[in-house]
């Protein structure tokens, strides 16, 4: 029982990172129907920006987080303008291959400049272990930071999407691009904005991972990227609550599976759940089934 509690805490921390990345996936997918494979690499670059800011500029955790988010959102807009915009009307496979090309480009350009070695992220957050529930579980302050920051970012996102004018435009574009355009929504601006927000969240996730696990490397984005995508699909792609739910769900399942001796099958379990969910409810656990019209 104690172990379950402990693992749940770790699971929520891992899950919040998945959820942050999954949000970017889901928003981009919702708006231009593209699996943005480069998203995991934006997260990696976010981690490196955080690393550079804390190590070489000696800044603290919060400035690192903010600088990384801003850098990543600029990068996200740039990627969209250069790579995805020319292919907006191309077939899905071409767009997907372009996304993979961008992903490879980011990974290996980064590897060329920072060398493939794993780097140790500076300790910018003090790590105090607090025992909770009468000593049954240990809560690291880093866990609290990660979870708090994730919740704050998610509330902020929810506010932007639901309460602001640009959020309304985003929802309109996701619903029907052409009609939104007829209503005077500047599609290009909205798509750029979506990429900016999604990438900023990925950048935040990158810094959080660097702080939490202490190691970063140029290929760190691939696996969490795929997992976060799985999380987005699990919850229902295109849905913001779905991505959050999927992220936490996947994080907890993974930590529980590895805690009970199945760590080698961890990845298989994630994808197994994905396939089962897709077969039973292809629109995701929180998604609504849309009837196909002829």
């Amino acid at each position: 029982m104690e172990q379950v509690l402990q693992q749940l805490i770790n699971g929520i921390s891992l899950g919040s990172i998945y959820a942050l990345i999954a949000l970017g996936y889901t928003m981009v997918y919702g708006i231009i129907n593209l699996i943005n494979f480069a998203h995991g690499d934006i997260y990696m670059i976010g981690a490196y920006v955080g690393y550079a800011v804390t190590r070489f500029l000696g800044l603290g955790f919060v400035p690192a987080l903010l600088i990384s988010m801003v850098t990543c959102s600029i990068l996200g807009i740039l990627i969209e303008k250069v790579a995805y915009k020319p292919l907006r009307n191309a077939s899905r496979i071409s767009a997907l291959i372009t996304a993979i090309a961008v992903s490879l480009f980011l990974q290996y350009t980064m590897m060329y400049f920072v060398k493939p070695d794993t780097r140790t992220f500076p300790d910018v957050l003090s790590s105090n272990k607090i025992s909770i529930l009468g000593g049954k579980a240990l809560l690291d302050t880093k866990n609290i930071y990660i979870i708090l920051i994730t919740i704050v970012l998610m509330l902020l996102l929810q506010y932007v999407v639901l309460k602001t004018k640009i959020g309304k435009a985003m929802r309109a574009v996701a619903l029907d691009k052409d009609v939104a355009q007829l209503m005077g929504v500047d599609i290009n601006r909205i798509i750029s904005f979506t990429f900016a927000i999604g990438s900023a969240l990925a950048g935040a996730a990158g810094v959080l991972v660097g702080v939490y696990y202490n190691t970063i490397n140029p290929l760190m984005g691939t696996v969490p990227g795929l997992k976060a995508f799985v999380a987005a699909v699990l919850g229902g792609i295109g849905l913001i609550p779905g991505a959050v739910f999927g992220g936490f769900f996947l994080g907890m399942v993974e930590t529980l599976v590895s805690a009970y001796g199945g760590s080698i099958f961890k990845d298989a379990v994630a994808f197994g759940i994905l396939i089962i969910v897709l077969l039973i409810k292809p629109s995701g656990l929180l998604g609504k089934t849309v009837k196909e019209k002829v």
């Binding site: 993979i100 396939i275 196909e292």
Partner: protein
Amino acid sequence: MMNKVNKKILLGVILFAFYILVQVLINTGIIDSYYELNLVIIGINIILAVSLNLITGFTGQFSLGHAAFMSMGAYTSAILTAKFNQPFILALLLSGVVASVAGILIGIPTLRLKGDYLAIATLGFGEIVRVIAINTDYIGGAIGFNDIPRYTNWTWIFASVLVTILLIKRFLNSYHGRACIAIREDEIAAESMGVNTTYYKVLAFAIGAFFAGTAGSLYANYFYFIKPDSFGFMKSIDILVIVVFGGIGSILGSVIGAISLSIISLFLQGIPELRMVIYSVILFVIMVYRHKGILGKREFKIFKSRKKNRKKVEFNVGAISK
């Protein structure tokens, strides 16, 4: 009529002459083992690309798990030849059969999914196969499977490539192949015309998996050694890239795509640090400026004997984009 037969004979003679020429060059040592290695890789890539093209290009089912079928074939062949000393031809065929059965088993449930969802499900399937292979000690686990006898040579590669292309070509020109193309163009319309869409999707999947399995077998019996990580997600992507690069829905495109991408990566081997960067830029440029691939849907004339019939199904170029 006479003309068509003549053309076929001519093509046969050219291919046979090419085979003999390369064989002679190998025997005399002009094509050394390094070039032979690349010929083998090109051949395997052609088989993989053509078989994936059947699934993705002609039937319109977006699969990201093709490497998983290849790995099943590779491991089947490795077990049969290294552990049970079976003849290579048996291992080659059984590899295809095993991969094909796996294709049917995974295809029946997942082919109900469409587009990106199918891609993700097959990607998940590929990862599951890889994780299971890593954790199975009998086939070497993560370290890999060693000491596989080498049977694959130029003759095997050439014959396999030829058989693969011929069979898939024949399949596509048959009633069944047309049903598959109809599914790509519009699944609902095909169904309302009486095409059993599930059956044909699974059939295309099974055939594609079969050839991927044989490609895996050729791979395993050439390189002495296989490991699960060689057949990961990136391998599936590589195959898909060849298909898209050459032109989705074009057999000749897949052949040209496999050859040109192999040659490109051969040249890039000289600059290992920048290899992937340049590769990704080339990929990107091709997708932006020729997003239907080098050939689009065009085929080599000599293959295209029923041009008039084909025209009808070619009007909707971006069918997969739906």
